[in-house]
């Protein structure tokens, strides 16, 4: 590769990075400005102040929001991992009548946009008394066709001979699932885990519908609240909250990026 081309590539990469990262960096910088400076429309803060962060935690229960989001995302992640891996195991290793029909049914659920079902779902959750509770925020998302599909694709790469060897030596199905299949599928389990944590953390419409008090409200709704209430004029505080909210997912993304990059495709193609 010649030098000119390398140079051009780096230049392009840098320019693109600046464009892509700008909004995040911008928010980061604003979060350190005091109110007057924000109103002047500066980009670089003249002096960095942590006041906004303190204010963000004082004026809204940001800690509680974060905690709620964390709990909800974690439960959904766990639920999806367990339930999807059980289903995927049955679809790969158990042969029984009607299995393919059930699989087709599961895949067909991908075609139903979640928004088209939200009205009855809201009514159901309301009837169950799950409004403003972790149950209402998590349980509807435990079953995931995408998760089943992703794990199934990976389970299928496990040589059938391993399963047969286990059968011949009298190892039970569940033991095989627990001791062989799950450890061998660590990569896709991590992929699915990261993915479901991210999507749940970032979920917006459903928490908006089923929460209306601070006890269970998630950070995303908290952000909306902040932005639409009186403190919305204090942009510095809002941006501080934004930074606090995106930090966990950005970190998770950076850690799990390699897995996602490889793993998500596996679910889609092949």
């Amino acid at each position: 590769m010649n030098v000119l081309r390398t140079f051009l590539l780096y230049a392009l990469l840098v320019i693109c990075s600046v464009v892509v990262l700008f909004p995040i960096v911008y928010a980061f910088l604003i979060s350190f400005m005091d109110g007057a400076e924000v109103l002047q429309g500066h980009i670089w803060p003249q002096k960095f102040t942590m006041k906004n962060y303190v204010a963000a935690f004082q004026k809204v229960p940001l800690f509680e929001y974060l905690f709620n989001s964390f709990i909800v995302s974690f439960i959904v992640m766990l639920g999806q991992l367990i339930i999807s891996s059980l289903a995927a195991f049955a679809f790969v290793f158990l042969k029984f009548k009607g299995r393919d029909v059930l699989f087709f049914l599961c895949i067909a659920t991908m075609l139903i946009p979640w928004e088209a079902t939200m009205i009855p779902n809201f009514l159901t959750v309301q009837k169950l008394g799950w409004l403003n509770s972790y149950l209402g925020l998590t349980v509807p998302f435990f079953a995931s066709a995408f998760g089943i599909f992703l794990l199934r694709q990976h389970f299928k790469t496990i040589p059938l001979e391993l399963y047969e060897a286990a059968q011949v030596s009298g190892v039970g199905r569940f033991r095989f699932f627990w001791n062989i299949v799950l450890p061998l599928s660590r990569t896709s389990l991590i992929t699915l885990g990261v993915y479901s944590f991210l999507t749940t953390w970032n979920m917006y419409l459903w928490p908006l519908l089923v929460t209306n008090n601070d006890r269970v409200r998630t950070v995303q709704i908290g952000l909306k609240q902040m932005q639409s209430q009186e403190i919305s004029t204090e942009w510095g505080v809002v941006m501080a909250a934004v930074i606090v909210v995106i930090l966990p997912t950005l970190l998770l993304l950076f850690v799990g990026q390699k897995h996602l990059q490889k793993g998500l495709m596996q679910g889609a193609i092949k």
Partner: protein, 368 residues
Amino acid sequence: MEQIELVHVYKSYNGKDNVIHDLSVSIEPGEFFVLVGPSGCGKSTILRMIAGLETITSGTLLIGGIEVNELPPSERNLSMVFQNYALYPHLTVEQNITFGLYKKKISKQEQKKRCLEAAEMLGLTDFLKHKPRQLSGGQRQRVALARAIVTHAPICLMDEPLSNLDAKLRAKMRSEIRQLQRRLGITMIYVTHDQVEAMTMADRMMILHEGRAQQIGAPLDIYNHPSNTFVASFIGSPPMNLAKAKVLESLLLFDNGRAMRLHHHLPPSTQQIIVGVRPEHIRLAKPSDDHFIAKVVNVEVLGTETLVTFELTKNEHWIARWSGQWNIHAGEKVPLTIDETAFLFFHENGQRLDHSIPSYAAGKGEHQ
């Protein structure tokens, strides 16, 4: 030790075409039984039916005199070694070896003891803490063997266990497996597509072709008395020479006018037959011998033996196998002779004709 019997067993995967046709065989306790045949003939299918990994479409499978058609694999009390070893990649050698013992209600100590025993037997003691990927092909093979041994099952099934090894290691493992089987006294059913493996290892073997048993018997019996042309050409390397011929009185007439005279050892009465001769039975003729002249088309000197390909007729080449190194070149014409007793005769449809009858008897038969 238990006897295994298959009685009129059929197998079909799609409900229409039979992959295994009417297979009946009885495998004796303590026997080393080899299933051999070309790729796709149904060897694995048979083995997997015995293991219980495939259902039997019709017929009966008996182990120790009891019908086990419907028994799940784990209750058949057998062990199995797979072609790709089927080792659990994330478990250590030791965990791999003992993984299947869990359900058999065997104490931890006993598990450990058996594992060490098997590891010692197979020279794996130093590798117990390694993962499979840190092992060489031969060592992995041994782990798979150890896993079969520790179960103390009286029957062991092996599906082409050596096909991933290089030639040298294969020869070594061949004898190791054989010795192990003798020492433990287990009944072994061993699948291979390699006739050398079958010949060297088997007490008895079954040759399969397109889902049908062609012949069952001891290796040498099969080598010397193949029951049809398929077996004749499958067993032996290089394979038996075969050629179509007409029988005229005591003459064998090949295409292009080549003829051979037989004095005592005539085929039974059929006009059109197939003649078979093992390469080692074609000799260079001494002046006194009845001989024929043939043109050499290729010579392969292999060190201890020489393979000479010659023209039997214009478009049929036969091979002769002589021990030692011979200085012969393509294009030369050489006098060759074949012992009369070495001729085997097959019907046009491939079936072996009844053991060749001395000429006087054959003569009678021919002129009835």
